[in-house]
């Protein structure tokens, strides 16, 4: 006796669709919750200096499905555990970046810092690159205006 394949296929499709919908509804997060998580993440990123807490946060974020945020928090936790020579090299690179006058090179350095989790240094270098571009458009006369006036006072 042939099996009634059509009802079985319809039932299987319906069950699959119901399962997919249940998973989607379970994973759905309200915008308010997303905003609060963003605040927590930003606060942990910019103000938390405890590696253990950062790892704890990374675990929670990974459990909630925020893999990129968890990876970044782990990177920040690992920042302080780098060997001293690596940390010294990073410091030297940051100082050279702030001394550089090449915006493209400074941005490349900022991207490198971003990849290592040093988001504060990366942000400062990006602002410096932007300021370099702006300052390159300033005529030299206007920048020395105050200095000339100061010299005149002396």
């Amino acid at each position: 006796m042939p099996l009634p394949l059509l009802p079985i296929a319809i039932a299987a499709l319906a069950a699959g669709a119901y399962t997919a919908k249940s998973k989607r509804e379970k994973a759905a997060v309200s915008p308010q919750t997303m905003a609060e998580r963003a605040v927590i993440y930003e606060t942990a990123l910019n103000h938390c200096k405890d590696s253990d807490k950062l790892r704890q946060m990374a675990t929670v974020f990974r459990d909630q499905g925020h893999v990129a945020e968890a990876d970044m928090l782990i990177k920040r936790a690992l920042l302080r555990e780098a060997p001293p020579e690596v940390q010294a090299a990073r410091k030297e690179a940051f100082k050279k970046g702030l001394s550089s006058t090449d915006p493209a090179a400074v941005r490349a350095l900022a991207n490198a810092f971003d990849g290592q989790g040093a988001t504060g240094a990366a942000g400062e270098l990006r602002e410096h690159a932007r300021a370099l571009e702006v300052s390159s458009l300033v005529p030299a006369d206007s920048t020395t205006q105050a200095e000339e006036s100061a010299e005149a006072v002396h």
Binding site: A17, A20, K21, R24, P31, Q32, T33, M34, A35, E36, V39, I40, Y41, E42, T43, N46, H47, C48, K49, D52, K53, Q56, M57, F61, A68, E69, D71, M72, L79, R80, Q87, A88, K91, F94, S99, A110, D114, G115, A118, T119, G120, A121, G123, E124, R126, E127, R130, A131, L132, V134, S135, V138, T143, Q145, A146, E147, S149, A150, A152, V153
Partner: protein, 396 residues
Amino acid sequence: MNTRMPSRRVVIPAPAPAPVARTSVYSQVASPYAAARIPAVSAFVQAPTQRVTIPSVVQPARVPAIALGTAYAQVNSPVAAVSKPRFDPASQYAVNSSPIAAAISKPRFDQGSATMGPVPALAAPVDRGIPAPATTIPGVPRPAESPYSDNTSWEEFKDPDAPRSLVEQDRDDQLVKSANPTLTPKVELPKIVHASWFDKLLKMFGLSRKAVQGAQMAGEAADMAGMTQTEAAHTLVRRSRNGDQNAMAIIALVRDNAKAGNLQAILTAKIMKQYIDTHPVTIDTLDMGYDDMVPTPTAPATDNTKATAIKLAQGPKLDASRVSSFLHAAGFGAEEVASFKHGYAGRPMRNPDPRIQRANKFGAVVSHAHKLQAIQAGGAVSKFDPMIGWELGEDE
């Protein structure tokens, strides 16, 4: 005889892409002030060890009825992005009923008079030549000479030859079906995204295409930040001009989706293009000199301040005598010197006096230049920024 070795197919794995930092994405909605106002975050930062649980359901706080100007600030602030109810009546009024909107939106008497009581005095024109408003009163015929009619639309009063705005074009092309698209171009996604029979079939099972999901996520992200689609597009342009890679990636995604025919992406791309055309990158060189450092108190103190500081740091060392000579040359009085000190310490002044604001910004410039000179001379990074010093391994 074939002496060649049998060829083996060698597969070289592609390097894994570096994960993109997501910090800048959240910089629009998060700030230390917002974090400080959330007890859970403050407790997490301050408590030594604490189990952190991300809440799955957040009860939005009520936003009291506030004045319009304050409402705009609240809606656009990071705190409001967290605490503002999505459909709070006060916020909706603040967003959709600005004075400009009330001035040029469709007149109220054109929207029907079902709820109005009989107003016989207004049924006929007044002797002073003012036409009667287009009220529809049951049982009272409208005068034939009245320029208004029940079907009068605001569009009839506009010059048909006038150039249409971008959003008007999209509305006329049936891309936007908002109630007032000229003022509130925040489009409703289900009406924008083209729904084929396949989409409808998927929707019956609670599924959706990937492109539609992406568009929904973009819309939710804009909602999350409390911004309209236009504001979000403008923010993307500004962030990408500041070198934000995430913003650049989102713009590239919008471009790809627009090429693929996603109507919401096309509209967003048009908005961004219009913003770029109307807001070119301009540098006001007058703002760069020390004498004209602060034209207005509301000027952004970011790029120009640091650019001027870079120029200043390239000069001789900024010791106390040189800085005092600057102050003397600028002719600062006691109030301005106090404002300068506030600016040097990173504290803005609320006094709207341009001279006070100028002195405050001058202090910020000298402070940043001083830090730059210290860093370039091999000083500690922690003195430049304590958090960056922590990132780079310096002890506190």
